[in-house]
Amino acid sequence: MTTETTSKKFNIDTVEHAEQTPEQPLPWAELGLKENEYDRVVEILGRRPTAAELAMYSVMWSEHCSYKSSKVHLRQFGDKVTEEMKEHLLVGIGENAGVVDIGDGWAVTFKVESHNHPSFVEPYQGAATGVGGIVRDIISMGARPVAVMDPLRFGAIDHPDTPRLVHGIVSGIGGYGNSLGLPNIGGEVVFDSVYQGNPLVNALAVGVLRHEDIRLANASGVGNKVVLFGARTGGDGIGGASVLASESFDDAKPSKRPAVQVGDPFAEKVLIECCLELFKNSIVEGIQDLGAAGISCATSELASNGDGGMHVELTNVLLRDPSLTPGEILMSESQERMMAVVTPENVAAFEAIMDKWNVEYSWLGEVTDTGRLIIEWDGEKIVDVDPRTVAHDGPVYERPYSRPVWLDGVQADSFSAEAPTDLRAAVLELMASPNMCSKDWITNQYDRYVQGNTALAMPDDAGVVRVDEETGLGIALSTDANGRYSYLNPYDGARLALAEAYRNVATSGAKPMAVTDCLNFGSPEDPEVMWQFAESVRGLADACQELGVPVTGGNVSLYNQTGGVAIHPTPVVGVLGVFDDVARRTPSGWREDGQAIYLLGTTRNELDGSEWANLRGHLGGQPPALDLDAEKTLAAILVNSSRDGMIDAAHDLSEGGLAAALSEAALRFGVGARIGIDELCERDGIDPFTALFSESQARAIVSVPRSEEVRFNDMCTARNFPRIRIGVVDAENDALDVQGHFTLPLAELKEAHEATLPKHFG
């Protein structure tokens, strides 16, 4: 322990000192607080804050931790939840992650979060610690993490800075996730120049637990002990805290801060096992992971969610860097740390488990009923606050928002380029394009099948993981977003993102149950961005209500903006579905020769915002129309036909339309097909190009065994859902043959599809 040597180095700004020196100037502006916010802190405390208190308020009232710009809109996710939607919800929004009942006493917790900015600064560590952070959220609910997913967005594929980000971020995710032994079962990769200075690195984790194992982040029981365990605290991720250097006598600091957070996946793996043993033996009363805002966040949230008070001696924190000041210790974002509340009777048992796993820990203090969070430094009081004011009563802004004036012009500019005459070349161009090309080069760097429970992973529509090895009970997950759709119409864009993720999960054969979201936007101080945000939240909340799937948690990432240019609004939506038995999952590719291929749904002329328009450099008009009733019926058909064995393959139609779906279904197992689209064109009143490239929603292709065709057709008729037989699986002929239009040998299609990423990054 370094208590004696460290404590003497600082000219500690105690509460007493703060009372005596009301006029002492504090660097609140440098720490990111606005003047009105600082005044509010002074009003709450009835005096100026100490340096340590200022550090706590400044990080906890930051946009990232307090959701001060987004809160007023996010309430809709709670307000628009019906009783029916809550039926399977064991823990809703507000905890570290939501928990969903999947039957047989099993529950699942899942959440997606952003780590955008750190990943731009230091791609490898930023992405790695993004995975680490979301996994700790899952552990702190009492669950064993079982899989991760990573929706990624980069700048233009040929921009000189893109390889740095792609290489760093992909190896960071692989390096951390693979070391933890967690399969990476999917995600998305999108290239668009709007993300050049603001790549999006979102990380989703899912964990499994028994109902009785749910743990919440609260500190109850006066006299219970508060313990910090895991890695030591260093200068990681401290942003503006260096301006608090005035509290330090010692100028001989390590090199300039802020320091990048560095992850240690092997320490996290030990932490997972160690926490699960604590849960199994019911050793901890409450637990919280340390992420953004570190100890400030953990102490204030645990205290305000429990009996309201906590007493902590900060010199007990084990340090990696003994020169840290109290304010820095409170703000540090060092990884792989957890805080727990333990009854005095369980202290010895707790220590035994820590020793067994060789995890360092230190007892910081205890729970009180005073309603105050008191933090002392070597016995001197440096923080004395009501923890609610730090954790929950931060500023809330009704930011002004206004519909962008340019939007009418953009929406009026429909895609009108002439259809290409050479459809064969068009399909090849589409399937080789940065967004539609094979992502194998990336996903091959991740473990997808480790642990042996992965039933489906990229490139299938959803990732599928078995939960119960006896019964085959399992889950499916998909994440989706389309920034271009959201740019054209943020309300519909968010609804479309949900619809696609919902459809993907149903396509795999699972029943969609719950939603998590990661809302990536530009600056909330720009009224036009704020309008995009407000519309997106309204759209997502409405669509969740219509589809009957609740949002269980998520994350908001604002200020994804360089100069005056914001990213496209990018609401990433993750949908969780449930299988009674993953053995009946539906893969996305054809396998059996002679099976009939059906197209479900109606195709309209909807090319605005499409991948094809994107390839032609066009972005205008309105995104495809959405009919959530049709989505529900389609999902029901896909889930029922999977359960009753009526289909052998299914693939949803989204970006790239029918052309992409047919190509991917053929390439999945290298089995071709003979396709006829003339009848489809006649029925829907469209030309062959539109049939192949339109991105109309609520569509999927399925392959149906001969023996099941009658039953399948009867079911579609009973549900009054349009379907049309468009072809037959042809295992003899290794080609995608769109009769009367073109024949594409699978080898040629595969070559075009797989060459793009290695060409740029290989």
């Binding site: 600064v121 230091e122 890695a231 390590p254 090199s255 320091a259 560095v262 060789n358």
Partner: protein
């Protein structure tokens, strides 16, 4: 041929998981008495011809931009060493 040695260390305030793992292994294998381990890396650049100031500048440049990650690492030495033979 002369060689230029470049030493790169993780910045002092940055977590060094490898160093930490080695620090954990030392006492297990009986090497006690070491308080901390930090692990860096060493590059040897063999030079064609003489090491002029210009060549050294090149090496410093490479050390700062390619051989080290300036966000999390420091270049602690760029020096010429005599050939062992």
């Amino acid at each position: 041929m002369p060689r230029i040695v470049v030493d790169v260390m993780p910045k002092p305030e940055i977590l060094d998981p490898q160093g930490k793992a080695i620090a954990g292994a030392l006492p297990r294998l009986g090497f006690t008495g070491f308080a901390e381990v930090r692990q860096g890396k060493r590059f040897e650049l063999t030079v064609e011809g003489d090491v002029t100031e210009e060549v050294l500048d090149h090496a410093r440049n490479a050390a700062a931009t390619l051989l080290s990650n300036p966000v999390i690492e420091d270049v602690t030495r760029v020096a010429v060493i005599e050939d062992a033979q």
